[in-house]
């Protein structure tokens, strides 16, 4: 059981962005990825989810042993992969509650529907945990949300969909200090031995709240360094210039 990324190469026409990336996340683990702007962090998250802009030229991604690279975006989601977007999309006219219901319903056998009472109970409980006002259930998905509200809404979706593996792409950006604590608490509440996390961030302060088991440095499309949580502290101190590729990292 794990999310296993093996020698992953991905490109947009004329340019390779991921250049042989290796990473294995086991259920129960929280991995952090840090790295300079433009190094390929968001690309990695989107490639894992099957975004059509990127072509995977070689490598494998196994979700609990199953190769997901041939699966459609929605099938990967239903297989247990979740991405909290760096820039969440707005869906005009679709209420948050209806959106979540549709997403949950998509996980049920055809013809079955979710129990509305249970659903709202669960939704309200999760919203309370994230200190979100009830009015967000009827507002259109992300429309007119502040930057921080959008990020909080991503975590609400994570909490409702309960994926096996969750990727958080800069969830901390845009959150104020209090919101950061609340959202981190929400994420921590979802930590479990059945769930793995990949947390992409630029800042140590998020990792103070969501403590990672393993920290990676992504540079120019490759993991160039891997360490414990002390690595992020060191990066915060010294930046990325000193980090050079470790011969072992590529084989790890």
């Amino acid at each position: 059981m794990s999310l296993e990324i093996k020698d992953l190469h991905a490109q947009i026409p004329g340019r390779e962005i991921l250049k042989g990336l290796n990473l294995t996340i086991k259920p129960g683990e929280v991995h952090a990825i840090m790295g300079p702007n433009g190094s390929g962090k968001s690309t990695l998250s989107k490639v894992l989810c099957g975004h059509e802009d990127y072509e995977v030229t070689s490598g494998e991604v196994l979700l609990d042993g199953e190769n997901i690279l041939d699966m459609a975006v929605d099938a990967r989601s239903r297989a247990g992969l979740f991405l909290a977007f760096q820039y969440p999309h707005e869906i005009p006219g679709v209420s948050n509650a209806n959106f979540l219901r549709a997403a949950l319903k998509a996980r049920l056998p055809k013809g079955e529907d979710i129990d509305a009472v249970k659903f709202y109970k669960q939704l309200y409980a999760r919203m309370d945990q994230l200190e979100m006002d009830r009015s967000f259930t009827s507002r259109s998905v992300n429309e007119g949300f502040s930057g921080g509200e959008k990020k909080r809404n991503e975590i609400l979706q994570l909490m409702m969909l309960e994926p096996k593996y969750a990727i958080l792409d800069e969830t901390d950006s845009g959150l104020d200090i209090d919101a950061l604590k609340i959202v981190s608490r929400g994420v921590n509440a979802m930590r479990s031995e059945n769930r793995g996390f990949l947390v992409i961030t630029h800042y140590q302060r998020l990792l103070n709240y969501i403590q990672p088991d393993i920290v990676h440095v992504l540079k120019d499309g490759r993991i160039v360094k891997t360490g414990g949580k002390e690595l992020s502290l060191e990066l915060e101190e010294r930046g990325y210039d000193w980090v050079t590729e470790e011969p072992l990292a590529a084989a790890a």
């Binding site: 989810c49 975006v73 929605d74 998509a106 969909l161």
Partner: protein, 483 residues
């Protein structure tokens, strides 16, 4: 007696219903059966066709005359191709039948209805009885049971709700006063055609002060004539009266005729309110050329709530003439055009008194190579004071080949008015679909949700059962449009 070879005025006796191999299924919800009717007026339209229709229907002389005059106007009027689509030139008037008599029992069995069509009915949740009618298995959809309560309730209030033929026979004094007054025969080529050959449609009169609680539904009393090609509806709400009328349904309809040209006239007397709700889903061989207009007297309100799906070409611009002070007019419309379909819709708002207010909200969705056009006309003359118009038209394009055009014509004279116009064109972006699919929705579900979101605020204006059906219908259309 001279008659063109293609015009057979003698009642024609024809063979039994056709073989299954004649049934053509183009796509989901789009199907046709060849149909033979025992009695008809033959092909094409001449003075004789008019007399035939008048004879069969037992028209009073003034209606017969009205039809004959209309025929002349129709023949003289050119096609409006100087502004409208050239596709109109493809209408071969000589190849249509202009009157099909009612009461034929088609000899088609339910087993002969294609699986696809049955599936569509299933998905839309159409009740058994209605399916048979819609598929052409039964000529009549009899829901007297469901309808009789409402009918009894409204009759008690003195409301007249009959078909147009019954209306002109039984209530000539009210009928004659308003018939053809809101939309004169010569308004356009197709209103003239309708005036010449009309049959079917409803006649409603609501007495002063009566507020009809239940929406009156054409759907409860449909039969092949009611659902005719050239229906004619006239609704009069007397002073302070209120009524809502609903026509159509979201189910794809069994089509025998490819030219439909209805005329609907509404009259809202002082302080009255009329809401006219239409949901129509045409198969993509149909020309649907409709003229709808209402007059709103002092403090009266006319609202058109309109949803047009499918058809080869729909041209429909519901209008309101605000004739009395503080009258209000509104058009809320949704149009959905898939490949091979053109929705040319809009609104006409004519302000003819002080402090009149009009509101137009139009949303169109183009899928595949579908095309939607918005044409609006807002007229506020110089001598009036304090008129307001708000126009919003938004288009959503689903595929790169989809197309939309907007032609707003706002003629506002004088400076004592407030008008506001907004238009937008948007596309369902790949990233929006990616976002939705990342949450587990299939591509079709993601599309449906996006489209339903786009029209959500307008769908709320439709009665509940229609909005539920609409959502399902969009799901179906989207399923067909991806992968």
């Amino acid at each position: 007696m001279v008659s063109a070879p293609e015009t057979t005025l003698e009642p024609e006796v024809t063979a039994a219903a056709s073989d299954i191999s004649d049934i053509r299924v183009d796509s989901v919800g789009d199907f046709t059966f060849p149909e033979r009717n025992k009695f008809d007026s033959g092909f094409g339209i001449t003075e004789k066709t008019i007399d035939y229709i008048a004879d069969v229907k037992g028209d009073p002389d003034w209606i017969r005359e009205f039809r004959h005059k209309a025929l002349k106007v129709f023949q003289e009027k050119p096609m409006p191709t100087h502004w409208a689509t050239k596709d109109l030139e493809n209408i071969k008037f000589d190849e249509f039948r202009y009157y099909l008599s009612d009461g034929q029992k088609p000899k088609r069995s339910w087993d002969e209805v294609p699986e696809d069509v049955k599936k569509t009915f299933d998905r839309l949740g159409i009740p058994e009885q209605e399916r048979k009618f819609l598929a052409g298995v039964e000529a009549q959809y009899d829901s007297e049971a469901a309808y009789s309560n409402i009918k009894a309730a409204v009759e008690e209030q003195g409301v007249i709700f009959v078909n147009s033929t019954e209306g002109l026979h039984k209530y000539p004094e009210i009928f004659k006063k308003w018939f053809g007054k809101v939309i004169p025969t010569g308004d356009n080529k197709f209103s003239a055609l309708n005036s010449a050959v009309f049959s079917g449609g409803s006649f409603i009169y609501v007495p002063p002060g009566v507020k009809v609680k239940h929406p009156l539904q054409a759907y409860f009393r449909i039969n092949s004539e009611q659902f005719g090609q050239f229906e004619r509806t006239l609704i009069i709400a007397d002073e302070g009266a209120e009524v809502m009328y609903m026509e159509g349904c979201t189910a794809p309809k069994f089509e025998t005729a490819t030219l439909h040209s209805a005329v609907v006239e509404l009259v809202a007397m002082k302080g009255a309110k009329i809401q006219y709700v239409t949901v129509q889903n045409w198969s993509s061989n149909v020309f649907n050329l409709v003229t709808k207009r209402g007059i709103a007297h002092e403090d009266a309100e006319v609202r058109w709530i309109d949803c047009n799906i499918g058809s080869r070409l729909t041209m429909k611009y519901p209008g309101v003439i605000m004739k009395g002070k503080r009258a209000r007019g509104e058009v809320i419309s949704i149009a959905l055009a898939n490949s091979g379909q053109h929705q040319d819709t809009g609104a006409k708002m004519v302000h003819a008194a002080d402090e009149t207010t009009s509101n137009v909200i139009s949303k169109s969705i183009s899928i595949g190579e579908g095309r939607s056009t918005y044409r609006g006309l807002v007229h506020i003359p110089k001598h009036l004071k304090g008129c307001k118009n708000n126009t919003e038209c938004d288009a959503l394009l689903i595929n790169p080949n989809s197309r939309t055009d907007t032609y707003p014509a706002i003629s506002v004279r004088g400076n004592q008015h407030a008008t506001q116009h907004e238009a937008s064109v948007s596309q369902v972006s790949a990233d929006q679909i990616f976002y939705l699919m990342q949450r587990g929705l299939t591509e079709a579900e993601a599309m449906s949700l996006s489209v339903n979101g786009f029209i959500n605020d307008l769908v709320k204006e439709f009665p509940m059962e229609y909005s539920v059906e609409l959502k399902r219908l969009i799901d179906l259309e989207m399923e067909g449009s991806v992968g």
